[in-house]
Symmetry: C2
Subunit: 197 residues, 2 copies
Amino acid sequence: MNLRQQKALQTKRKISKVALELFNKKGFSNVTVDEIIEKTGTSKGAFYNHFKSKHDIFLEKFKEIDNFYVDELLPKLDPQESAKEKLKKFFFMQMIYIEKDLGWDVIRTIYENELNTERESFFLIPDRPLYQILYSLCVDGQKKGEFREDLTPEQMVTIFTRMIRGILYDWSINKGEFSLKGEQEALFDVVIRGLMK
Amino acid sequence: MNLRQQKALQTKRKISKVALELFNKKGFSNVTVDEIIEKTGTSKGAFYNHFKSKHDIFLEKFKEIDNFYVDELLPKLDPQESAKEKLKKFFFMQMIYIEKDLGWDVIRTIYENELNTERESFFLIPDRPLYQILYSLCVDGQKKGEFREDLTPEQMVTIFTRMIRGILYDWSINKGEFSLKGEQEALFDVVIRGLMK
DNA sequence: TTGACAAATAGACTATAGTCTGAGAAATTA
DNA sequence: TAATTTCTCAGACTATAGTCTATTTGTCAA
């Protein structure tokens, strides 16, 4: 990495850091891009060179969630356990992470942004690690004879995905006012019951 | 209703009609408020006197959905049938209505708007007819001994609500590219299975 | 070393949702 | 009917996300 790239990265990091702090303190919609560039001593040009939009800063943070799944969460699952148990734990830890580390304003912002027609959706990238993990767990469950066989693993993943979308959306409009991990568990129990043999 | 109220209502209707036509033709985000007021020969003042926001026009249309549930949909349910069957039909008809009469852009816009912190959410009004209908169907199902009894009807309604949120959100980001009624049916079958005894 | 090139940035400018103020007309009151 | 209040609307104005163009500065090849 040469000097120019280093400087650019430094600018990007500075913007990202300050912006996330501000979002955290005041909420996403109460922070303006002008404020961010003023606080970082940069400019519109710098800002939009590094980020596609104001939302985009959050998206970068949100994308880390997939690293979290792969690096932190997956290794904690015991291969010996039933698929049901693994899925349960997976979702449970996911919710704790979202509740603690991300927070409802991040989720709200991401979910809002994904509804914008203009840009392509992050949620629709088919090879997101999240989907791959869920897929392999569903296949595992079918192999072990736990899950119904009249549904394809793809269909099951879709069902789980929509379950998560539903609860996170609901959590967002409720401004994080209910326990995500508790409510998710209740919903999961119902869905998994519907998917077992 | 006096003359002034009549005129005002006329203005409101004109704005609403033209706006919805434009949204329908060009998509919500490709229509500007300036265009609407120009086409209707009105003004910003008139527009924002009648609607809280550009989104709000859609919300009015969307609120009709609850009338639809009560007036059109509910009477078609045979009280003799099982609660499961009634719920299934209810959701089925709901999806057809949404798919045909509202369309994904309306849903997308509503769902996006509901994520705005500023205004109070329509989804969170606890006595929406939709929730009341679902509630009574869940109570019915428990009375008839079809459904689990370790969950309260409220909890079941919440689960159904999140199921719907999940699939409609997903449908929106997919720009209406999958069959709502088909996919909803598949999801419902899983969820109801998890709720039955 | 120098000149061409490309990347990064500054900041003016644009587009557009939404606010604010005032004016005129209708309703209400005396 | 005259005075007063209130509702509806017009349109100028504001706030803010995002675009565009010019400038600077580092890079690289000859």
